[in-house]
Symmetry: C2
Subunit: 344 residues, 2 copies
DNA sequence: GAGGGTTCCGGATTCGATTCCGGTTGTTAG
DNA sequence: CTAACAACCGGAATCGAATCCGGAACCCTC
């Protein structure tokens, strides 16, 4: 038995009413008597009737669905953000459609198209790190589909007329370096990723500014660009320890490289944090599992996802004409001091 | 300018053709001349025409969307599986809609309804751990919507007539214990979670059977039920080390507790693996970051997601009448021997 | 040049819900 | 007793695409 779902006309026929009345009854419209409403509701219950969202969405022009496009759903950060997004979206009654760009601009384009064709009401994007051309977002613009970037945002786009949510990387880095200085570090190295990514750029700048603000001259020798993983961190640290004047503090732009640095230091019989204090960035879950526990900066991942959804909803509700100029939302990061940088 | 998207009728009008021809031209139907196909395609290009998936889905009765329902998108496991799902779904041309039950049966029900109303073509579910009543899946059944459970599956459901993907926890545990025995461990302890969860039950059984198979009597004193996190592992290990005859090997049902156990051992000046060898389960990403690196069992998370999608697709393609009895797919786990259990 | 085939296209219908515009009752006021 | 109005409901159009059915135009053949 091909158990087709009951449609609104099925209800109409068995009750001897018209589809329009059924529709109105189910949406609790005033033009329907309580008596018939009750009848309709009861039958709907019996037949397990559920409105076809596709049809309703098509008619209304509202799909009740939000799109998410992330580089990938691995590691710590993106899953957390997606978690925040899904949770908040569910609370507001939205479905969530999810895509991965795999850090590839072409897939990013395809997925943006896909989401738009699926008539999502809004799109949240974190850019692939290979994306330098933003034309595919121009289309989203033109269709007046609310668009929010998070974490990896575009810098210049139509006069930076975009909504975005990110954390204050600069501020986070600044806090880290200040903390290291307060712990007595005098030569603070920095492990950085490529500066064309704004996260690294801003952390790098925060590092420099914090040093100068405290009267410490920036030593370019202490700034190393490496692969931001464990191995990269280890190699970079080895190099730093060969310097005639080795650093006594390290600020790494992410946690993995920081762990690598710690291990390199320990393998040379240096004590962390007494000889070298190390701080990472991202507050990955493993930071509390290593020895010593790794100081890091919390990125408020979940909050970021939540905020992105709320921002979208605001844009959806606001009049399309005048919803105010979109201003980037910047979340405050939180420095978490743990064993790797606590010198007492 | 309210830039409404171009529809198929817009194309029809400006080209002086009928919507049906446009539709056929775009789907490369034989009944349209190459000349007009070219004209249509060109105009479509110019107007950035993209078919409205909602309308097409409604008409065709196929939404091209798969639904995923997981307890949550946090930690290591579920994001990895979702990653696998999203990747494979994209490859096969499906969209993915994602929901979280937050380990709550009611939310699980609501989300199942939601997915069904959104006309997804198939659903993948990992159960909330509070779910003991499976009536909400009965509806999915009745609508003939393909349903695949993964990892947390239902045991008895309509004569266990369900599709599922899981890993062989029993086998994984068995391998671990065998490995520990081969490394010379004679007293092997087991840290377990509550046995009403099938993952712990099966791992526990694998532990017992592997011991007896190698002629070692199971010592109930060495089996501890604890919170499966770092702290729980530490406490359990401390207790084990107070025994008159302390264990020289530990198999923990997850990695976090294993790390806790390692730390407890190290804090009592025991060497890992020489004095106590430790193996965890799940192959969390931090297993390669601790000292020593933690031996563990890989759960094939991504593979699980991929397999779930493939299974769904097979069900979608197969004739609804005879697609064979759904048999559970059991993935082989992979023991990864690292420093914490390698004694040479 | 009549019959039979292609080739290419249009009209109308359909998917399932929403919604505009009316129309039929029944009630009440004048 | 009629006009006016409210309460309730139906018909039909609509969203955008897919598809069934049929028809015009053209070519070929005997």
């Amino acid at each position: 038995m091909a158990n087709r779902r009951a449609s609104i006309t099925d209800l109409a026929k068995t009750l001897g009413l018209s589809p329009s009345t059924i529709s109105r009854a189910l949406s609790d419209h005033d033009d329907v008597s309580e008596a018939t409403k009750a009848r309709v509701r009861q039958l709907a219950e019996e037949l397990h009737y559920k409105p076809n969202q596709l049809a309703a969405a098509l008619r209304r022009g509202r799909s009740n669905t939000l799109g998410v496009l992330v580089p990938h759903i691995t590691g710590h950060f993106f899953p957390q953000v997606v978690h925040g997004i899904a949770t908040e979206a569910a609370k507001l009654g939205f479905n969530v459609m999810i895509c991965q760009s795999n850090e590839d601009t072409r897939q990013e384009q395809t997925n943006i198209d896909l989401l738009m064709n699926s008539q999502v009401e809004g799109i949240m994007v974190s850019l692939a790190n290979t994306t330098h051309d933003f034309r595919h977002f121009e289309a989203v613009r033109q269709q007046n589909i609310p668009l929010v970037f998070f974490d990896r945002v575009v810098e210049d786009f139509e006069g930076s007329n975009i909504s975005s949510v990110m954390i204050d990387d600069y501020q986070g880095a600044y806090q880290v370096v200040t903390h290291l200085i307060e712990q007595g570090c005098t030569r603070i190295a920095h492990l950085s990723g490529p500066l064309h990514l704004n996260i690294h750029k801003n952390r790098h700048q925060g590092y420099r500014d914090a040093l100068t603000a405290h009267g410490i001259e920036v030593d370019e020798e202490l700034i190393l660009f490496c692969e931001m993983n464990q191995k990269g961190g280890t190699q970079a640290m080895r190099q730093l320890l060969k310097l005639p004047q080795r650093p006594n503090g390290v600020f790494s732009s992410n946690d993995l490289a920081a762990i690598g640095a710690v291990q390199a230091a320990k393998s040379q019989r240096l004590r962390v944090p007494q000889d070298v204090a190390v701080v990472g960035f991202s507050n990955e879950m493993f930071t509390t599992l290593t020895e010593p526990n790794l100081s890091s900066v919390d990125q408020r991942c979940e909050q970021m996802g939540k905020t992105a959804v709320q921002l979208l909803q605001k844009m959806l509700k606001g009049s399309p004409q005048r919803q105010g100029p979109p201003k980037p939302i910047v979340l405050k990061p939180k420095l978490l001091v743990r064993e790797s940088s606590q010198r007492r």
